[in-house]
Symmetry: C2
Subunit: 459 residues, 2 copies
C-alpha cells in the first residue's frame, strides 16, 4: 500500500459528489423559479395588454361620441333651417359641398372609431384572455413535465451515488481480503522458514535420541502448515470473490457514470430547451401574433377608410371653382338674373318712320356728332387698354397672393427628440410669421387699388 | 288721320314703359338681395367652419390627453418596478418589444393629435377668420360698385323715358301743325273757289253798273286770299319747324333706344357677372382652398406618422419568435441554464482501472446484457419513431390552430348604409362565431393528447 495522502479518502469523494449534486439541485430549483418568473411576466404582460386595450376602447368610444356630437350639431342646424329647398339648392355650390364632405368625414371617423373600440373589446381582448388561459394551462402542464424530468434526473444522480458507494464498499472488501490473504501468505512463509531451521539445527544431534522428538515435531509442524494453507486457501477464495464483486461494482459505477452524464446532457441540452419551448410557445407567440395582427388590421382599415374620406374632400377642394359657382347661382335664380326684353321703338300716333332719319337737314349734324363720337371712342379705347392692363396685373397680384401654396404643414409633424419643443414649433406656423402679415397688408393695398381704378374709369 | 284704335295711345305707351322699368327695378332689387343672401350664407359658412374646427380642436386635444394618460400609466408602471436592470433585460424578448412599441405608438398618436389641434387653432381657424374679413370687405365694396351700376342703368332708363316723351310731344306738335296747315290750305282753296264763282256770276251783268262793285269785291277777295296765304305760309313754316323737331326727337329717341338696350345688355351680361365674380371670388375660393388644403396636409401627415408607427409594430410582430426568445432567455440566465461539469470516475483507494473491465469472468455477462440492451434499443427506436410522428402531427395540428389567419377585420369597416346595423355586425366578429368555439375545443383536446403521449413515453 502506497501513502494514503496520494488518494482521495472515501469521505472526500462523497463530500465532493454531494457538493456537485447540491449545485445541480440548486440549479434545477433556479430553473423552475426562472420559468415561474417568465410565466408571471407573461401573465402580467397579457393582463397589461387587456387593461391597455380596455382603456383604449373607452378612449376610442369617447372620441367617436364627441365626433358624432360634432357632426350632429352642424347637421341638425342644416336640417332645422326653415327653407329645406333653399338649403338643398345651396349644396350645388362648391364651398357648401366641401363643408358637407367635412361633416361626412367626421361622421365616418366617428363610426370607424366605434368599430375600432368594438374590435378591441370583442375581438382583441378576448384573444388575450385566451392566450392567457392557454399559456397558464400549458405552463402548469409543462411545469409538471419539468418536475418529472428533474425528479428523474435526481433519481439517476442518487443511483450513481449508491452505485459509487457499492463500488467503494466492494473495493474496500476486496482490498481487505487481499491484505488478509497476504497476511496468510506471510504466516505460511514464516512457518515454512521455521521448519527448515529446526531441521538444520537437529542434524548435528545423534539420530536415535532425537528421532522421536523429530517425528513429534514434524507432526506438529505439518499440522500447523496445513492449517495455514487452509486459511490461505480460504482467504484466497474470499479475495477472488471480493475482487470479482469489486470489478462488477466498478463496471456498474462506470456504466452508471456514462448513463448519468448522458442524462445530465440530455436534460440540459434537450429537455430544458423543450421545456422552455413548451412554456414559451405552443401557441403563445403565434396567438399573440394573431391578436396584434388583428389590432394592425383594424388600425389599417381605419386608416384606409379615413383616407378614402380625405380623398373625397381633396377632390371637392380641387373642384372649388368660382366660375362654375357663378353659373350655378345664375341658373338657380334664373328669373332674377335673366336679361329683360329689348326696348322696342314705340311709334307715336302711327308714325311710320322707325329708322334713324339721316337726310338733310339733320344729316350734317348727325355726321358731326358721329365724328365727335368716333374721336371720343378712339381716345377711350386707348385709355381702356391701359386701364385693362393695370387691372389685369392688379388682379393677377391678388390672385398670386391668395393662391400661394402655404398649406403644407409637414414640418409640424417633424418633432425634435424633446417633447417640450413641439408646442412652440407648431404655434409659429401661420399667423405669427412676419411674411404673412406683410402679405396680408399687400393684399388689401392691391385690392384697394383695384377698386379705385375701377371706380375712376367706371368699369 | 286714321282711326285712333289702330295706334297705342300715349298713355298706353307710357304705362307699358313704366311697367317694363318697374320690372327691371324689381329685378335689380332682387339681385342685390340675392347677393346679400349669398354673402350672409358665406359669412355663416365661414362662422360654421371656425366653430367646427374650434370644437374639433378641443376633441383632438381631449383625445390626445387621454392617449397620453394611457401611455404614461403603463410607462410609469415599467419605470417604478424595483429591478430596473431586470426590466431592461426583458426588453430583448419579442413580446415585450411589441408591448413597448404599442405604448410608443400611443405616445406618438397623442403627440400628433396635439399637433393637429394646434394646427386647427393657430393656422386653419385664422385662415377662415381672414377669408371672412376679406370677403366681407370685398362684398361691401362690390355692393357699392353694383349700386352705382344699377343707378347708372336707371339713369339711362329715365333718359329714354324723357327722350321718348319729348318725341311724343314734338311729334304731337308736328301733327297739330300739319293739321293746322291743312286747314289753312282748305280755307285757301275755298277762298279761291268763291272768287271764281263770283266772277262767273258777275259776267252776265252790265259792265258799268257792276264795275265798281266788281273792283270793290275784287279788292276784298284779294285781301282775304292774301290773308289766307299769309296764314298758310305761317302754318307751313310752323309745320316745317315742328316736323324737323319731331324728326330730331325721333332720332334722339331711336339713338337712346339703342344706347339703353346696349346698357341693359352690358349690365345683365357683363356687369352682373363681374359683380358676382367679385363677390364670389377675388380670393374667396382660393383662400378657402388653401385653408382646406392645410387641413388635408395636417390630416395626411398625421396619417403618415401613424402609419410609420404601425409599420414598426408590424415589423415587431413579424419578429415575434419563440426560438430566439428562448436563446435570449438562456443567455440572460446563463448560470442557471449552463450544463454542470461532467461526472468523472473517482478511483477508490488508488484503483488503477478506470475502464470497463470486459474480461472473463464478467465478459459473458456483459455481452448478454449488451445484447439485451441492443434488442430493447431497436424496439424503442421503432416505438420512438411512431410516437415522434404522432407528436409531430399533433404539434402541427396545434400550430395550425394557433397560426390560422383569422385577424383580418376589413369586413367590420364595410358598413351597410344604415348606421344602426354597425354594432351587431362588429360584435359577431370574434368570440360569438361558432367556428371559434369549435376550434378552441379542438385546440385544448389536441394539447391534452400531446401531453398524454409525452407522459406515457417519458419524453
Amino acid at each position: 500500500m502506497t501513502s494514503p495522502a496520494k488518494f482521495k479518502k472515501d469521505k472526500e469523494i462523497i463530500a465532493e459528489y454531494d457538493t456537485q449534486v447540491k449545485e445541480i439541485r440548486a440549479q434545477l430549483t433556479e430553473q423552475m423559479k426562472c420559468l415561474d418568473q417568465q410565466c408571471e411576466l407573461r401573465v402580467q404582460l397579457l393582463q397589461d395588454l387587456q387593461d391597455f386595450f380596455r382603456k383604449k376602447a373607452e378612449i376610442e368610444m369617447d372620441y367617436s361620441r364627441n365626433l358624432e356630437k360634432l357632426a350632429e350639431r352642424f347637421l341638425a342646424k342644416t336640417c332645422s333651417t326653415k327653407d329645406q329647398q333653399f338649403k338643398k339648392d345651396q349644396n350645388v355650390l362648391s364651398p357648401v359641398n366641401c363643408w358637407n364632405l367635412l361633416l361626412n368625414q367626421v361622421k365616418r371617423e366617428s363610426r370607424d372609431h366605434t368599430t375600432l373600440s368594438d374590435i378591441y373589446l370583442n375581438n382583441i381582448i378576448p384573444r388575450f384572455v385566451q392566450v392567457s388561459e392557454d399559456s397558464g394551462r400549458l405552463f402548469k402542464k409543462s411545469k409538471e413535465v419539468g418536475q418529472q424530468l428533474q425528479d428523474d434526473l435526481m433519481k439517476v444522480l442518487n443511483e450513481l451515488y449508491s452505485v459509487m458507494k457499492t463500488y467503494h464498499m466492494y473495493n474496500a472488501d476486496s482490498i481487505s481480503a487481499q491484505s488478509k490473504l497476504k497476511e496468510a501468505e506471510k504466516q505460511e512463509e514464516k512457518q515454512i522458514g521455521k521448519s527448515v531451521k529446526q531441521e538444520d539445527r537437529q542434524t548435528p544431534r545423534s539420530p536415535d535420541s532425537t528421532a522421536n522428538v523429530r517425528i513429534e515435531e514434524k507432526h506438529v509442524r505439518r499440522s500447523s502448515v496445513k492449517k495455514i494453507e487452509k486459511m490461505k486457501e480460504k482467504r484466497q477464495a474470499k479475495y477472488t470473490e471480493n475482487k470479482l464483486k469489486a470489478i462488477k461494482a466498478r463496471n456498474e459505477y462506470l456504466l452508471a457514470l456514462e448513463a448519468t452524464n448522458a442524462s445530465v446532457f440530455k436534460y440540459y441540452i434537450h429537455d430544458l430547451s423543450d421545456l422552455i419551448d413548451q412554456c414559451c410557445d405552443l401557441g403563445y407567440h403565434a396567438s399573440l401574433n394573431r391578436a396584434l395582427r388583428t389590432f394592425l388590421s383594424a388600425e389599417l382599415n381605419l386608416e384606409q377608410s379615413k383616407h378614402e374620406g380625405l380623398d373625397a374632400i381633396e377632390n371637392a377642394v380641387e373642384n372649388l371653382d368660382a366660375t362654375s359657382d357663378k353659373q350655378r347661382l345664375m341658373e338657380m335664380y334664373n328669373n332674377v338674373f335673366c336679361p329683360p326684353m329689348k326696348f322696342e321703338f314705340q311709334p307715336h300716333m302711327g308714325d311710320m318712320a322707325s329708322q334713324l332719319c339721316a337726310q338733310q337737314p339733320v344729316q350734317s349734324e348727325l355726321l358731326q356728332r358721329c365724328q365727335q363720337l368716333q374721336s371720343r371712342l378712339s381716345t377711350l379705347k386707348i385709355e381702356n387698354e391701359e386701364v385693362k392692363k393695370t387691372m389685369e396685373a392688379t388682379l393677377q397680384t391678388i390672385q398670386d397672393i391668395v393662391t400661394v401654396e402655404d398649406f403644407d404643414v409637414s414640418d409640424c409633424f417633424q418633432y425634435s427628440n424633446s417633447m417640450e419643443s413641439v408646442k412652440s414649433t407648431v404655434s409659429e406656423t401661420f399667423m405669427s410669421k412676419p411674411s404673412i402679415a406683410k402679405r396680408r397688408a399687400n393684399q388689401q393695398e392691391t385690392e384697394q387699388f383695384y377698386f379705385t381704378v375701377r371706380e375712376c374709369y367706371g368699369f
